[in-house]
């Protein structure tokens, strides 16, 4: 039992989860398979000693995004999944092709100094203190502008969401008052 075995197990889980998520006709099953994929991915991050990313992967993706998707599914009319949702298979070839292309585009820049499994992090970037602290310092110092812009964006999105929700409520209230 070493890192290699762990890697292959986690990788298998992730790929399997992803495949089920794509192929499963029952929507809720699909979402849970997707969550398995997220958790597997978190495990991979953990294996790379990027614990903070792993945590965020679980917290945000498995926790928040998964639930968001579940809520979205609850709003569709085939809630209970009695009729398996028919996924159209038209154009799946092109879809696969585009996915592959995107994958390669992401892969190419990283492949140049890709760490091997036996040596997960390039020597020169090994951090001595905790990754969380490093991440914090990096986020606050060099990337502060990005963070601020993102924060603004998210706040705007939040306010917008509240306004949209309130708008519906307000018109309803007016109707009730009439």
């Amino acid at each position: 039992m070493n890192e290699v075995t762990a890697f292959w197990m986690l990788a298998a889980i992730s790929v399997l989860g992803a495949l089920i998520a794509v192929r499963k006709r029952n929507l809720v099953h699909g979402v849970f398979a997707l969550l398995v994929f997220f958790v597997g991915l978190a495990g991979l991050f953990l294996l790379l000693l990027a614990e903070f990313i792993a945590v965020v992967q679980i917290l945000v993706y498995a926790g928040a995004v998964g639930i968001l998707i579940l809520f979205a599914i609850m709003l569709t009319d085939r809630v209970t999944g009695r009729d398996a949702f028919r996924v159209t298979s038209r154009g799946s070839f092109w879809g696969a092709l585009i996915s592959l292309a995107v994958f390669l585009v992401i892969l190419l820049p990283t492949i140049q100094d890709i760490p091997t499994i036996e040596n997960p992090t390039p020597k020169e970037t090994i951090v001595e203190t905790s990754t969380v602290k490093q991440l914090g310092i990096h986020l606050i110092k060099p990337y502060i502008i990005t963070i601020e812009i993102l924060a603004l964006l998210l706040t705007a999105a939040l306010v917008g969401a509240v306004t949209a929700a309130q708008g519906g409520r307000a018109s309803e209230n007016e109707e009730n008052n009439k």
């Binding site: 809720v28 099953h29 849970f32 903070f52 945590v55 965020v56 679980i58 809520f71 905790s130 969380v132």
Partner: protein, 389 residues
Amino acid sequence: MTLDLIKDILLATVPLLIIFPTMFALTTWVERKALARIQNRIGPNKVGVPLTPYGGKLSLFGLGQPAADGIKMLFKENIVPTGADRLFHFLAPILSLIPSMLVLCFLPLDFPWLNGEQNSVKAFMLDGAVIFFFAITGLNTLAVFMAGWASRNKYSLLGGMRAIAQMVSYEIPLVLSAVVVVMIVGSLNADNIAKAQEGWNWFVFQPWGLAAFVIFFIGALAETNRSPFDLPEAESEIIAGYFTEYSGFKFALFFLGEYIAMFAISGLAVTLFLGAGAGPGVESLSWLKIFWFLTKVCILIGVMIWLRGTLPRLRVDQLMGFAWKFLLPLSILNIFVAGFAWHIKDANKETATSVVVWIASIIILYAAAKGLDRVNRAKVKPRTYQYGE
């Protein structure tokens, strides 16, 4: 290397797997006894330990009750409703247990036999231990939803939906109140947080720590579906909520998972605010650390039982309102208060200043809470009645 690793893992996890399920068994008994006494009943007092196979028993105030319950649960029929999603119906109880069990290893229970080891496994020493805790507890929500959805029962579905909404909402005040401690300590490492509170420097004695502790405790009640936030399993409304359709051992697993989650989150509260293992005598006897830690956890559980015996439950919208309109603003304000208090204290170390800061912080926080309460419950007040002759 492999054998060593396995040994280390066993040394670190097996005690957890012994201590907490035992505590669970005892807590079910204590809870039934305490609730009974609160309600002026006697509670379970019959099941004891049989002395001989032919009769005679030691009726230790009904202490045999947990064992009897467990045996009963094991042998009960496993009923899966027609049309239920059998796979998910089976998986949900297991999935609800895993996260609660998993987070136990993020509690700073520093077993003495781990210290001699070369390469001991101490998950709480992870840099993200606290945030790991929240991330993994969050997965509990999914198990609850799974149970509610897979049962194919309307009450279960309602319970599952309520559970999701509630857990997601209360996670925010929970995390924000923990952030205060993380901010002051400057570390997400549970061990560092515990070390920062050694002696009597418990954070609960700080004004911001007190406020954060109260918010955290309320959030913890909601997160573990305890009264007065037990809406997902509100008996008078939706039967038993998401585990309406569970019986036998699956139900027992849910039950176990819920209680372990209770211990876990109480343990985190102890770690963050109540000085973890700090207490009299820990300097000389390191064993006492674990004792004090578990004692504090038990006290928190006791308060939870006490609350359960006293309070009715909130309504869904009030529950949400409470989280978003009361706890969230308050916990955000608390972060600022903590920051200012820390800065002033850092600049000026006199006792008089710290007292002034203490009182001022408490006043600010209380005033804010009071104001929020008045805004939220403006129309709610006791009324007077008239009498006809």
